[in-house]
Symmetry: C2
Subunit: 480 residues, 2 copies
């Protein structure tokens, strides 16, 4: 494909994209296909000679679209939102054209420098303490990770190295194996599965602590666990506090947990993957109070801030801890200016990295802070609208306080009824939801996802749910 | 930005991209900027209200481009190539528009199913044994990883779990700490830094074994190391064989290493990050002979196969080992069709993942196998052309056999002269190279990178190098 063709086919693709997104609500959010549906729809080998562009574009609609779960649809309320925006897409086109791998400063200075500046822009928007910023007084700074999973893992491993160095100073014969058998990390019983996984990867124990009735990890639970483990000879080293759990958007109590972590010299990491974006609004920023106690803080602009996947932003108060987590420095990656600006390859799990700060830059500039705040506020308002609708119906109950853009609800009574409701809503196909489970109760999660979501979509969703609930409850009665 | 504006601005961006790429050779491949250059060129805060599209696009040229290392330039010969192609860019536009996160089959069936089919297409193109394919007789299959670093890590962790289960069967009280202190992994002293890093992350010892004079890890070195470690009570569990080292594009001897791994029940992983793409050509496929002994095989289409970053493809002979490496399964990710098709979230480090198979599909279809083979062959031919030019000059020596698209060379004599040559070539700015080091010798690496690379670019590069060498050697003589 030559440049001229690229511009032509590109224009066709851009038009396909706008047509897709403008009419996305007319498609079934959760596709009606069975596992293995695609086999047989395309040849079982790559072609020897080029297929035509027209055929490829036709096959997007014929082969791909029937099996797509439409995350950007106003009828998609599952998981959490994943960001989508035109400015971010345009930045990605540029990112691909530059096609650099920014593992060191020298491998593409702009890639590193724009990231440094964007992490400070974003940090300021969130009103992070300036000790987390490059422009701050200390060793703070931020870096773009692929996902929150990687951010948690990177911090856990950095903390592990920190403790290993500490213990080896006391006893040079101390082995990493001896250490990992003693290390204990903590998270709430509501923490994301990736937190448990970070513990498994790092080979350390990850203790899940019981939360209060709201799903929030409180100080006394952590204090008790740390003292208990210390008494047994274990070494508490890392706490993951969640701000906005996936289960129910609950918030661990940072102001209680923080001082305890400080007292025991434990690294506190905050996982605000979803909720983090809301902290650009002054009215939601108090949810982050206590962040000053954290060594590291992470959230995903690629969830709720119009910067598309993959863009998970991580700040730390002491960037040396990331940088020296692994000390691997081959000659082909050395360069003359080492040390003056960050070499981000040391700050992440993989070596390679794209020019991802471009999409933060495009989004922050082309929306501006106020429009991004408005988008957050719209979703929270819609969540409360849905909450109000649920409350009009006695058969239902809200199972968690609605704080941001997630509503958790269920049919009163046995789990089985709500399980049936969830299954039937998804089979019905007009909207798509996923379930969750907390304190022994099964419930449905309705998350504000689609970027074009309006009040009428919320009303529609509620009508579908009520309608399906009628059937579920009637057939239940009929059986009795 | 509304749909109409997106199409308009998008067309401008596409045109910017073609203009950039069509004239990329006129820019300095390695930019002439100092660390910190960008600070002060943009405001120190995000704007409150939107900036105009025109200003953003202007700033790309004003702020970003001066500090870009132009990886796609025909004057860029550093590291290894990173793929760039128009079909891949168009696929990414579509991927972004769909904006799904394909962590489970249900979260976007097409995302999983196309990946399954593309991994088989690609596997067949490489003539992988069908035990690595989904369509094969066993439990084989493949998955797209972000980078080779993650692929190596994923396999090392899977092997670690496998051995932990084995040891715990013998002794239920066995701890992971006890195990990691006993586990030993092996790689060559030429393996990529990410291999060493996988060991550090996994908390296991990674022993670097001495290679032969060609930089190839041979059977006897591995056999000796394994026997020695077993005698000491260690547990050899994992070997990373490199096919095409970053240092010099050397190949470990798979046919010698394989049977030894099999004899000792050790997981052999092949890292062919760069060289792997060449295996689609029958004449280079013998370099992969012995792959049948490997449990896992990985290469980066995002290096040399026109599929853009991030796309690192990993195949295993038993996908259960990836799947059960970590057993974390929260309710909000469960779905009705679990188990029939893969849930790729279990096969990788992060949870989130984009619809990356689209770019493999677009590239394989819009080029076809033959044109992809031609592109590989062109680069290998150009490498031999450069090799021939170097050999015309008595002052230089070739330091490694030229097998694919990398030429390693140096000025005869002390390292200092070649070090000076490298520094001066990069300061000169007409082309960009990086150095390497092997068997006590410093040398320069000239990798065929730019997708539009032609014979004339090779001649140009050689002229620059000769020119700079003249100065280096003259000033050296003048000093004596």
């Amino acid at each position: 494909m030559e440049s001229k063709e690229f511009e032509e086919h590109g224009a066709e693709m851009l038009h396909y994209v706008t047509s897709y997104l403008d009419s996305i609500g007319s498609r079934r959010a959760l596709p009606d296909v069975q596992p293995g549906f695609m086999k047989g729809m395309i040849p079982d080998k790559a072609p020897d000679t080029p297929d035509s562009w027209e055929d490829v574009l036709k096959d997007v609609e014929r082969v791909v679209m029937p099996g797509v779960t439409h995350w950007q649809s106003p009828k998609f309320f599952a998981y959490f939102p994943t960001a989508s925006s035109y400015p971010s897409m345009l930045a990605d086109v540029l990112c691909n054209a530059i096609g650099c791998i920014g593992f060191t400063w020298a491998s593409c200075p702009s890639c590193t420098e724009l990231e440094v500046l964007m992490m400070d822009w974003l940090g300021q928007m969130l009103q992070l303490p300036d000790t987390f910023l490059f422009s701050g007084p200390g060793k703070g700074g931020g870096v773009i990770q692929g996902t929150a999973s990687e951010a948690t893992l990177m911090c856990l491993l950095s903390a592990r190295t920190l403790f290993f160095k500490k213990e080896q100073k006391k006893n040079p014969d101390y082995t990493l194996g001896q250490l990992v058998d003693k290390l204990v990390a903590y998270c709430s019983d509501q923490a994301h599965s990736s937190v448990e996984r970070a513990g498994l990867i790092g080979a350390v124990r990850m203790r899940k602590l019981e939360t209060d009735e709201k799903g929030s990890l409180r100080g006394p639970a952590l204090q008790e666990a740390i003292l208990e483990d210390k008494a047994k000879g274990f070494i508490p080293f890392f706490v993951v506090a969640t701000s906005g759990t996936t289960t129910s958007c609950a918030f661990d109590n940072l102001k209680e947990l923080g001082p305890i972590c400080q007292e025991h010299g434990v690294w506190m990491h905050i996982d605000a993957a979803y909720a983090g974006s809301s902290f650009i609004c002054p009215e939601f920023r108090p949810l982050l109070d206590g962040v000053e106690y954290a060594m590291s803080f992470n959230f995903n602009p690629h969830k709720w801030l119009k910067v598309m996947f993959d863009c998970s932003t991580l700040w730390v108060q002491n960037t040396d801890y990331l940088r020296y987590a692994f000390d691997v420095d081959p000659l082909y990656l050395k360069h003359e200016n080492q040390g003056v600006m960050p070499d981000f390859r040391h700050w992440q799990i993989p070596l390679g990295r794209k020019f991802r700060s471009l999409k933060i830059w495009f989004v922050l500039r082309l929306y501006g802070r106020q429009k991004l705040q408005e988008a957050i506020r719209k979703d929270v308002r819609l969540a409360h609208e849905f909450e109000a609708l649920v409350k009009t119906d006695d058969r239902f109950e809200i199972t968690a306080e609605v704080i941001l853009g997630l509503v958790c609800f269920r049919l009163k009574g046995e789990d089985a009824t709500s399980e049936r409701l969830l299954r039937d809503v998804n089979n019905d196909g007009r909207i798509h939801l996923v379930p969750s489970h907390m304190k022994g109760k099964f419930f449905l999660r309705l998350a504000m996802c689609g970027p074009s979501l309006q009040s009428q979509d919320i009303v529609y969703a509620w009508d579908v749910i009520k309608d399906v609930a009628d059937h579920v409850l009637n057939s239940h009665k009929a059986k009795q």
